[in-house]
Amino acid sequence: MRLTVNGTEHEVDVEPDMPLLWVLRDELNITGPKYGCGIAQCGACTVHVDGLAVRACQLAVGDLADGAVTTIEGLAQPDSLHVVQQAWIDHQVAQCGYCQSGQIMQAAAFLDLNPEPTDEEIDAAMSAILCRCGTYPRIRAAVHAAAAKLQEG
């Protein structure tokens, strides 16, 4: 089975039913997407498939079709971090950090579809990713900052 992750094509020999998360982590050693719950409750595994946010624990690799996968490792440009990543660093969001690749991937996909979000929309978009350390106040601030930066161009 072939799949493209962060622009690189890979060949894997796994059951088509295997969730993309476990192909990334245990077959390809791409460990930015995290295992937290396995049932789409925590969002720590979030990646992009063709630019849209997807919980990698819910997508069977056999159903990926030709979808191009981007993980947190592939979000930045070679010479600069993604606006969302930079906002996360500026706001010192992470504590343990385990959920943050999911938070960042969700925020990046959200702002791509909805570049001028309201507070209410941020609350709706970012509440599906669980953080047990309680970094939410800074996530909220960082999404706002990233949105403002994106609007500046």
């Binding site: 396995g38 849209l52 819910q58």
Partner: protein
């Protein structure tokens, strides 16, 4: 709010659709038979597997089942938005991924996000069933203005083609399925339609 590429993510439900259902209307049905069929249709429409995603003007799907105590809004502050696919916030398809292959294993895990061979979405605003009475649902469902301009056969075909509806009878993961069966439900629609879409008195 501005949605940049909303259209781009309204992915067409282009998956191969299996015709699972026999659509043969009865030659005749009395109003009493129609009302009897309707009462079964209402059992299906008001069942959590169906009603939880027919929330009308609310863009919040509902959750119910033994783990939740009482029926409650979908956790995580999920809102399907005006798009009804969550494009303004979190796409439904972010968690309810499309499972095209190997349908039997699609929903074996308890409490995982249900998935079918098409994109998950909330029913249209007009199809407002959650918490509604039998009369209210009945009148909506027979009103072409509010049912997507469907006659009896179109309703039956919709049931055949919309795979999210099929999921209601095979929800997996320990969830309680909708009552009867997809075929029985289609048969009831056809009896109800042949009888002239009778609705119960208020």
């Amino acid at each position: 709010m501005k949605l940049k590429v909303l259209a781009a993510c309204l992915l067409a439900a282009s998956s191969p659709v299996l015709a699972e259902v026999d659509i043969t209307p009865p030659t005749s049905a009395t109003p009493a038979e129609g009302l009897e069929a309707w009462s079964r249709i209402y059992e299906v429409a008001s069942h959590p597997r169906c009603a939880n995603c027919h929330t009308g003007a609310s863009d919040r799907p509902m959750w119910s089942g033994p783990s939740y105590g009482k029926t409650r809004p979908h956790g995580m502050n999920i809102r399907a938005g005006e798009s009804r696919i969550g494009a303004e916030h979190v796409l439904c398809s972010t968690c309810h991924t499309t499972k095209s292959d190997d349908w039997a294993k699609a929903n074996t895990t308890s409490h995982a996000a249900p998935r079918v061979a098409m994109d998950w979405q909330l029913a249209p605003v007009e199809a407002d069933w959650f918490g509604r009475t039998s009369v209210e649902i009945c009148e909506q469902l027979r009103d072409p203005e509010r049912n997507g301009d469907r006659d009896m056969l179109a309703l039956a075909e919709h049931l055949d083609h919309d795979l999210i509806l099929h999921w209601a009878w095979k929800p997996g993961g320990g969830r309680e399925p909708a009552p009867y069966s997809l075929q029985a439900h289609v048969n009831d629609i056809l009896i109800w339609g042949t009888a002239g879409f009778p609705c119960p008195e208020n």
